[in-house]
């Protein structure tokens, strides 16, 4: 009996089985996943299916019924949806139930009956084949997924690295562009690779105009290229150089320059980087400061000149007035001597101002024999015992008139500082570079406060001083690129050392 002749009636067991089957499936379907994991639920669904089919077979009473085929369907689906253990278990349950049904409906059936021998193992075979097929499929699917995932990851990584690289480049560009100093980098052959806006501004052109050009061909940059080339060739940086360039706008720009060679294992990156600093404003400020200093000197000088010249002027004017009212020969002589003294004093003041005001360019240099010069000077000096040491030929580069004025000022200062038993020792020494002339007196010395103002023009502690003597000394020493040292102890005396550059032997 293949099918029930009655068909499916509502109250028939088959109908109830179908209904039960539907309900259990629905119930199982709606069990929340949080209570049981999905494999457990699907396992339960398949188990229910197997039981339902067994019941259906049971109620249709037919070993020959085609419901048996549905086992295959379930086993197949179970092996696709379940793991091996799950689907084998379903197959076992199905074969046990089916076997039991066979035995029950055909009592005394032999185990070797084709119905058992073929149909039951067939369930397992279908199960195994479908498991194999499903596993293979799953594996393929998995490897495909993995491959896709890997591709995705790779894409992500590439995108991230690219973004990072772009960001890094933008960052370093921003850094270079934000530097307040000009930055120019060139390759070993002088091709400009990087220019920041400040460098372009200083050079009076644009960044685009400079990049990829040979630096030596850009107007005004030849000097810069020479320095850079030297740095590359010697592999040595140059720092704090001062150069002036005429830029693309024909403007003379004073520059502070530091040049460093770039070295790397990759030849593409070797070259040189230069940092430029526009010194125009600094120079202008310096100029302003010098101007202000000059004005302040001028102010001081005006009051000083007024004071210094009006005193002898008073004497000259006064004595000449007196001269007209006297007939006494002696008095006339005194008055005219005083007038002469006043004139000489004014002349001395004018001499000092001129020496002080003389600029360096007017100093003519030649070889001067210091010890010979000193002997000439000291021959006319009275007022102190002068001792000379080491007075063999000492030749320096300088101008004899200035040096005479320098030494006279120092000697007069010493003599003015000494009261009793005035003694001045002048000693010459030589080092590699310098001829040192050392003046040591036994005068009253200089107080610490006065030492600070020693070289300030118009500063004096003497009643008759012009306040220019040591300012002149300092100026002459500076003009000769020399050095000056003064050691002093109040009450004991002062030592003054003048360092002048030794003449080069020709």
């Amino acid at each position: 009996m293949a099918y029930s002749k009655r068909g499916l009636h509502i109250a028939s067991p088959s109908y109830i089985v179908a209904l039960l089957y539907l309900l259990t499936n629905l119930v199982l379907y709606f069990i929340p996943e949080t209570k049981f994991s999905r494999p457990v639920i699907t396992f339960a669904v398949f188990l229910t299916d197997v039981v339902a089919i067994s019941l259906a077979i049971y109620f249709t009473q037919g070993m020959q019924t085609d419901f048996y085929l549905i086992y295959f369907l379930i086993i197949f689906i179970a092996s696709v949806g379940q793991n091996i253990r799950g689907s084998i278990f379903i197959a076992i349950v199905a074969s046990v139930l089916y076997g039991w049904l066979l035995v029950r409906s055909n009592p005394g059936i032999s185990i070797l009956d084709s119905a058992i021998l073929i149909r039951v193992p067939f369930l397992f075979i279908v199960s195994l084949i479908s498991i194999y097929w499903a596993t293979t499929m799953r594996r393929q699917l998995k490897s495909k997924q993995e491959l896709e995932e890997f591709a995705h990851k790779l894409e992500d990584k590439v995108a991230r690295i690219t973004a990072k690289e772009t960001e890094l480049r933008r960052y370093s560009e921003t850094v270079i562009n934000s530097v307040a100093s000009g930055v120019i980098a060139v390759k070993g052959d002088g091709t400009i690779t990087t220019v920041n806006p400040e460098a372009a501004r200083v050079l009076g052109t644009t960044q685009d105009n400079l990049v990829d050009r040979k630096i030596g061909t850009v107007q005004g940059l030849d000097t810069l290229w020479q320095k850079m080339k030297k740095a590359i060739d010697n592999n040595k940086p140059f720092e704090r150089l001062q150069v002036s360039i005429t830029n693309a706008e024909d403007k003379l720009v004073p520059l502070g320059l530091s040049v460093s060679p770039m070295t790397s294992s990759d030849a593409r990156f070797t070259g040189c980087v230069a940092i430029l600093r526009d010194l125009s404003e600094v120079k202008a400020l310096e100029q302003k400061l010098k101007h202000a200093e000059r004005l302040s000197y001028l102010g001081k000088m005006a009051s000083w000149v007024a004071h210094e010249i009006r005193n002898p002027l008073t004497a000259i004017d006064g004595f000449s007035q007196l001269l007209t009212h006297t007939s006494d020969k002696e008095k006339m002589k005194t008055f005219s001597t005083e007038i002469h003294k006043g004139t000489m004093r004014i002349n001395h003041i004018i001499e000092d101002i001129l020496t002080f005001a003389r600029t360096k360019t007017q100093v003519k240099s030649g070889a001067v024999n210091l010890s010979k010069l000193m002997k000439e000077i000291t021959a006319n000096i009275s007022g102190a015992k002068i001792f000379m040491k080491g007075d063999e030929d000492r030749i320096v580069t300088g101008e004899d008139e200035s040096l005479k004025s320098l030494f006279l000022n120092i000697i007069h200062n010493s003599i003015d500082a000494m009261d009793k038993d005035p003694k001045l020792v002048i000693e010459f020494r030589e080092s590699n570079k310098w001829v040192v002339t050392e003046f040591t007196d036994n005068g009253k010395g200089i107080s610490k406060d006065d030492l600070k103002n020693l070289f300030t023009p118009f500063f004096t502690t003497k009643s008759r001083g012009t306040g220019l003597g040591l300012a002149i000394v300092k100026k002459i020493v500076d003009d000769h690129n020399g050095k000056l040292e003064i050691d002093s102890e109040e009450g004991k005396g002062t030592t003054c050392r003048v360092f002048l550059p030794k003449a080069r032997k020709s």
Binding site: S303, A306, R310, N311, P312, A315, L322, K331, E338, K462
Partner: protein, 135 residues
Amino acid sequence: MTTYQPMKNLVNEGERMKKRILVCDDEESIRLLLNESLQDTYEVVEAANGRDALRLATKEHFDLIIMDIKMPSVHGLEAIERIRQRSDNIPIVICSAYRAMEDDIIVKTSNVAAFLVKPIDIKALKAKIFELIGD
């Protein structure tokens, strides 16, 4: 002869009665000039710096002081202030080569009779002194 005697005494007494002026200046020429200009009418005493001037002004009597400002040891203005602490009424004439603004302030507070800027006119100086103390 006898009539001359008292006359001579009178002259001597007149010489003794000469008013005394203290001249304080660090420039020797200026001291000499002032001395030569004034010695006919007044007895002139010289001081080369402020310290000497102070010492003399404390010890002796003077009718007038002529003072320079820029001087070593004690500065002229300091000397004037210290003299003023002792004697309020002695006329002081400043005779300086340069008149700075800060000098003015002290001149005002120290009751200085006159401020003459060098080069001075001898006649004007004499007239000023005569106006202040007579002869």
